[in-house]
Amino acid sequence: MKAIDKSDFSEFVDNLIEDDDREVVGVQKKDSKFAFDPLYESDDLRLDYDTTILPPKKYFMPQRETLIEYNIEKGETTPVNRVVPRIILGVHPYDLVAIGQMDKVFEDTHEDPYYLEKRRQSVLVGVNMENVSDKSFASTMGTATIDSGYDLMLTDIGDRYAIEVGSSKGSSLLEQAGAAVDDAKPEEIRKVKQFKEDLPEKFRSDPEFDPFELPSLLKEYYDNDEFWEENSEDCLSCGTCNLVCPTCYCFDVKDVNDISLSEGERMRTWDGCMLEEFAEVAGDENFREEKAARYRHRYMRKGRYMYNRFGDIACVGCGRCSEQCLPDIADPVDIFNQMKEGTS
């Protein structure tokens, strides 16, 4: 473990902004919330944030991106992958877990060069959670702390940050901080250990389930139409819970022609299974026409389908869906608790 004085860390970040060819992004205040955004000075970096509006997945799978440029007249297509190499500062452990899951998804079956190349060219600097969002249940999901999946991991230990190095990418980034970085002292290492041990107390205490129970609970509830209808009654089908989720990766692909109709771009944009048209296919058939069916699908995917395919529970407990759902019906803890109570 390494450590750096906070003032030296700020200088290090300012130097990266100034000198490094990569774009430096970090968590910053946005009105009453926080968001990952390009960083122009280290003072704007808020490593004490609770959670961000969108997860950092937007850097590997942008909301809108061009896949191919084509020229209809010439019959030419050109693959395009607009990669911006980035240093991403301040990723919480649950988001790192989510990124690890996404890596598996985008590597599996058909490697997705658009995602993977952006991943390869980015450096993830994590930070342990000093403040915890009211809705987060990461400790229940086992994602409040993490031993790998980052290039560097910071922990606030007072006047200094302790730094765990997770990869050679991370250690070469840290070399740019030069002599300001030294080995962490044993009491600093002890502080980090203690910090992680004390962390669960900061989380909400209402979850009554264990993550490993979710696949079987969900299986049991699959056919309970009444349960899904009741819980989805107030769903606005606005897709917020999908869009803000760090493990939702569905996208739509469309061709956008230039007004000349001679050239255009094939784009992909974020999509979400809560949106009405998501499961609509040719012939106007919609496999999940009712909001209850869509609502169920989201939970099945988080707690069962991804588990069956990759062995991961695809909910990392960040609490974003719950926090941002206006009718307040997207809290996974509420749903999982109800199931647990109903079966015990």
Binding site: S237, C238, V244, I259, L261, K291, L326, P327
Partner: protein, 273 residues
């Protein structure tokens, strides 16, 4: 042969045609695809020989209806351009009020000269409409997309989901969370200064959750709220949305006022379904 395009205006401000005129250099590109034969804001030529008709404005008099029926007969494809033609729009605010009172309020002593219908209607209340371009005013990119799709014989793709989708993608702070608002605090009554005036009103509140997207949430991006100008989504969950507005402290009457700004006609239609 290029499709011949005509624009017609009814009860409206012509702001949507202005959006088309303001395409500027893109308008020249567009003219490579279509031939414009009727467009009062731009050309003086007039013709009854056209393939695609764009209708702007609500339909509010017998004379409007006759004109519109004539256009429908002449055109192969009829497109409602902008909220007044597509959903009734602002004009339908008056639909829930006493028509006599409205006429007197606006025209005073001349009120009896007015032969308007009791309700302002969208184009499809009178004739069949093939395509809709929503917005007050319309979005230029969407207009170009629709024209381009029609020229190619493709179905234009207009979002069926609410504005929240685009707003989230733009990572806006939710309007309901602004000024330290917290959706988890029930009946949180908040008051905000209306920008540029001394007026203080409750809020902010947002109609984004039930309004059709396609505007890239531009009003919220710029710091204001969604007023619902693109009309309701096909299957809005208005009950859930009312509960949300109620939670933030809006009374039933205030909620209906918000909905009435653009949703007047659609609300009535939904009631009759």
């Amino acid at each position: 042969m290029k499709p011949r395009v005509a624009f017609f205006d009814f009860a409206g401000c012509e702001g949507d045609q202005l959006q088309v005129a303001n395409l500027e250099e893109r308008l020249l590109d567009l003219l490579e695809l279509v031939e414009v034969v009727n467009f009062r804001e731009v050309i003086s030529q007039k013709s009854d020989d056209y393939d695609i008709a764009f209708i702007e404005g609500s339909i509010a008099t017998d004379h409007d209806a006759e004109r519109l029926e004539e256009v429908r007969e002449n055109a192969d494809v009829l497109v409602a351009l902008g909220s007044c033609a597509a959903i009734g729009g602002i004009n339908s605010i008056r639909n829930s009020q006493d028509p006599k009172e409205v006429e007197e309020r606006v025209y005073g002593d001349d009120a009896d000269k007015i032969e308007a219908w009791d309700k302002a209607k969208p184009a499809d209340a009178v004739v069949d409409v093939d395509h809709y371009i929503y917005g007050c005013p319309i979005d230029q990119d969407e207009f170009v997309h629709v024209v381009e799709s029609l020229v190619q014989g493709k179905e234009p793709k207009i979002p069926t989901y609410p504005v929240c989708v685009e707003c989230k993608m733009n990572e806006n702070v939710c309007v309901f969370s602004r000024n330290g608002g917290d959706k988890n605090v029930s009946s949180a009554k908040r008051e905000v200064q209306v920008p540029g005036s001394q007026k203080v009103e409750k809020g902010p509140f947002c109609l984004g959750p039930v309004t059709r997207a396609g505007c890239d949430s531009k009003c919220v991006n710029e710091g204001t709220t969604c007023w619902g100008c693109r009309g309701l989504v096909d299957n809005p969950n208005q009950n859930a949305h009312k509960k949300v507005l109620d939670k933030y402290g809006l009374t039933v009457e205030e909620v209906l006022n918000k909905f009435n700004l653009y949703f007047g006609w659609q609300q009535e239609e939904r009631k009759n379904e």
